[in-house]
Point group: C2
Chain length 201, copies 2
Amino acid sequence: MSLIPKALQNVVDALSKLPGVGPRSAERFAYFLLRSDPRLTTTLATSLGDLHAGVKHCPYTFALISANEDTSSLYANPERDKTIVAVVADPFDVIAIEKTGQFSGTYHVLGGLLSPIDGIQVEDLHMNELVERVARDHVIELIIATNASVEGEATSLYLQQLFTDKNVNLTRLARGLSVGVDLEFADHISLSRALEGRQKI
Amino acid sequence: MSLIPKALQNVVDALSKLPGVGPRSAERFAYFLLRSDPRLTTTLATSLGDLHAGVKHCPYTFALISANEDTSSLYANPERDKTIVAVVADPFDVIAIEKTGQFSGTYHVLGGLLSPIDGIQVEDLHMNELVERVARDHVIELIIATNASVEGEATSLYLQQLFTDKNVNLTRLARGLSVGVDLEFADHISLSRALEGRQKI
């Protein structure tokens, strides 16, 4: 005898597959949808149904684009500098950098970070396409904008080796204290990076 | 110029409506679905599409049942004691109590807890139906099994008033120390409840 109706259990099971969502959260989500206006559930179901068909990757930058676009509109924009490329792991990293309003170059989305433990290797990332693009667009600077994590550092190191003999400047995002962080509470790695990278004022 | 394809943004917007899911989590969920096997997204979309049509409330206990059932199978089970009723807030509370394997009575789901601040009042809960059921099923004990929260206590108090002149025993779940809790770290309210409710050994 099941205590949960099949239709509800199916939603709970499907939602539990989302990253970081356990059975309890999935139950809470499903029950919330059940109690809310059915249009909310319909909107979610419809948008999910259109997801895979409506999104593809830009063949040059690997940013996510609509299925009816040819290339990323940012890459196609003549005002963006194609000779400066920020290399990021995921499409949403592009949005984070765009929010700063400080960057007028273009992006290259690797599609992840090197992580042998998760089975993500060089051939799973858009590394070869980056090499081709550097040559084709006469890129003069690659800004390695990966996470400050073990995987981010590993990917950064690999990129350094990959472009060591190529005629391109490699830079990476500064490490240091985040804005608003109390020195007292900063982790010691960030603090030592902040010391290493101290700047003349 | 939008940086996120419309089809992806729609999913992010819809997922952000779930309780406790902010735009960042919604982006993470959507991007996870996009990178996963499309069948996962299809399964989720299909199950959501079937949710509202596949679930209804039992007309007696207000537990959730499949659309093709007439009453809760637990309520219809002749082995369950209809004269002992546990009053709970939400359908998932039924599952929590069933997991103990200690209860052979039936349930009444109020559909929430009294919470003037959230605009949840007596008429929003299945209180009248509980009064009818107590009379119809000759209920001898109502176990108030609400959360140990302000709303749970308020609902419990209201039920006490509601049944004060009726010929039914009201009990409620014991308050005290949770299993495995160190006395030292128990909150003082739980500890004072545990003292009040101390039991002869």
